[in-house]
């Protein structure tokens, strides 16, 4: 059956689709990386709200993580995207501006970031709780401000505990970008669909897309593993490190 595959369809220049695929792939990486970074920021804020916040902050964070984790991601993305742009437009109009063109990449990052943030909040909250309280007390006893304690001690000390969960979230982020195809983002999955339907070479293109996703995951694994070893330096003796 492989004889029937026309690999020239993968050529970088038109009429080949290779260049378009790689562009879509790059777009997927941007969406995943941006959404992931935003998820980390939301996660740190959410975890802080849950652990140190007042009653209102704790409740808000609880509602957020519950909703995010209860509703299917696709629904959330459709909701955030359409409702979000609608709200933005209405707000703009009420302030006297014409409707705004929402930047596709920014909107996609926002949508993925909001979903990632819900999970990251829980991962980071658990990781912070795994830091022995004495380390935080020692920082306080030296007169560090709460923010400085967070930045200099709590966050770096919780990192090795957060990495396994956060590595998982990165894998999910890379694959969640495919869901954005439904909204019409020209990321890898969407481009693949276009390529496949216009050439009828479904097998070739979906296999290629799969290979690209797999490559991203394998490369990520290597980087994350290195980072984990580095972050765990202080936790286990070197000869015990695996």
């Amino acid at each position: 059956m492989f004889q029937s595959i026309d690999f020239s369809l993968l050529a970088l220049d038109a009429p080949g689709w290779g260049g378009a695929l790689l562009q879509g792939f790059w777009r997927s990486i941007q969406l995943a990386a941006g959404g992931y970074a935003m998820g980390i920021v939301i996660g740190i804020l959410g975890a802080s709200a849950k652990l140190y916040g007042g009653l209102v902050m704790r409740d808000l964070a609880q509602v957020y993580t519950t909703v995010i984790r209860a509703v299917p991601e696709l629904v959330l993305m459709l909701l955030f995207y359409y409702v979000g742009t609608d709200l933005l437009n209405r707000a703009a109009q009420s302030m006297g501006f014409a409707g705004i063109e929402v930047d596709g990449l920014a909107a996609g990052i926002l949508v993925i970031g909001l979903v990632q943030g819900g999970y990251a909040t829980e991962v980071i909250r658990g990781a912070i709780r795994a830091v022995p309280h004495g380390q935080i007390e020692a920082a306080q006893a030296f007169g560090m401000s709460p923010l400085k304690v967070m930045r200099r001690v709590t966050l770096p000390a919780m990192t090795p505990h957060a990495i396994p969960g956060m590595a998982n979230l990165w894998m999910i982020a890379t694959k969640d970008t495919a869901l954005l195809a439904v909204i019409g983002f020209s990321e890898l999955t969407q481009v693949t669909r276009q390529a496949a339907s216009s050439t009828r070479a479904y097998f070739l293109f979906f296999l290629s897309a799969g290979a690209l996703y797999l490559m991203l995951t394998l490369v990520s694994n290597v980087i994350l593993r290195r980072y984990e070893v580095r972050a765990r330096r202080g936790l286990i003796a070197a000869h015990q490190a695996r």
Binding site: A141, F142, P156, G234
Partner: protein, 256 residues
Amino acid sequence: MDDKPAIRIRDLHKRFGDLEVLKGVSLTAHPGDVIAIIGGSGSGKSTLLRCINMLEHPTSGQIAIQGEGYRMRPARGGGLEPADRKQVQRIRAQLGMVFQNFNLWPHRTVLENVTEAPIHVLGQPRAQAIDRARQVLARVGLAEKADTHPIHLSGGQQQRAAIARVLAVDPLAMLFDEPTSALDPELVGEVLGVIRDLAREGRTMILVTHEMAFARDVANRVIYLRDGRIEEEGTPEQLFGDPQSPHLKQFIRSVM
């Protein structure tokens, strides 16, 4: 002693829920004083120490460090809480605390542990902080461990690193919370040796300890805390040589 007392505590009460751990403790430490606080477990000695740098908030009473009293306000749910967080941070930066479990930061090397507060709290230039850190590490005999992570050190070495970390900020007074209780017996000596040297050079210290022979040796004043009150205090000779309270007599018999 016309100096302001380094630490002055007046009528300190501390309550955890229904349990009153401190029932009116007053204590004054002048510069150069080495005060050992002894007593059975649950007598409130660690709580007393932790109130001095506000790791615990007293229920009532006053604490002043070098004449500056903590500004307190009523807390929700009773008791007091610091009214001025900045003031607490400023006072804490002048006190050094050594913990039972060392509490070194595992993600930083020994040297980074020691330079952390000088650089990030006191705002010292990095080069100066590193110089000073190497000096204090040499003082506690850990010069060659500067670039290791704490996990690779023995308990005694970790505690000496924790003492160096405190020395690096050149504190007005050092607070020791059972500094040898988590150590294997053969490692206790090296830590006590370092503390003894510091006491002899005139550092102000408050020392919660179970090491009676050590307390007798280094302290110029010993306080026996029992059930949240100071039951007896005086020179080591008085307390260990001629204890008055029957509880203290029994306590000394049981631990020495």
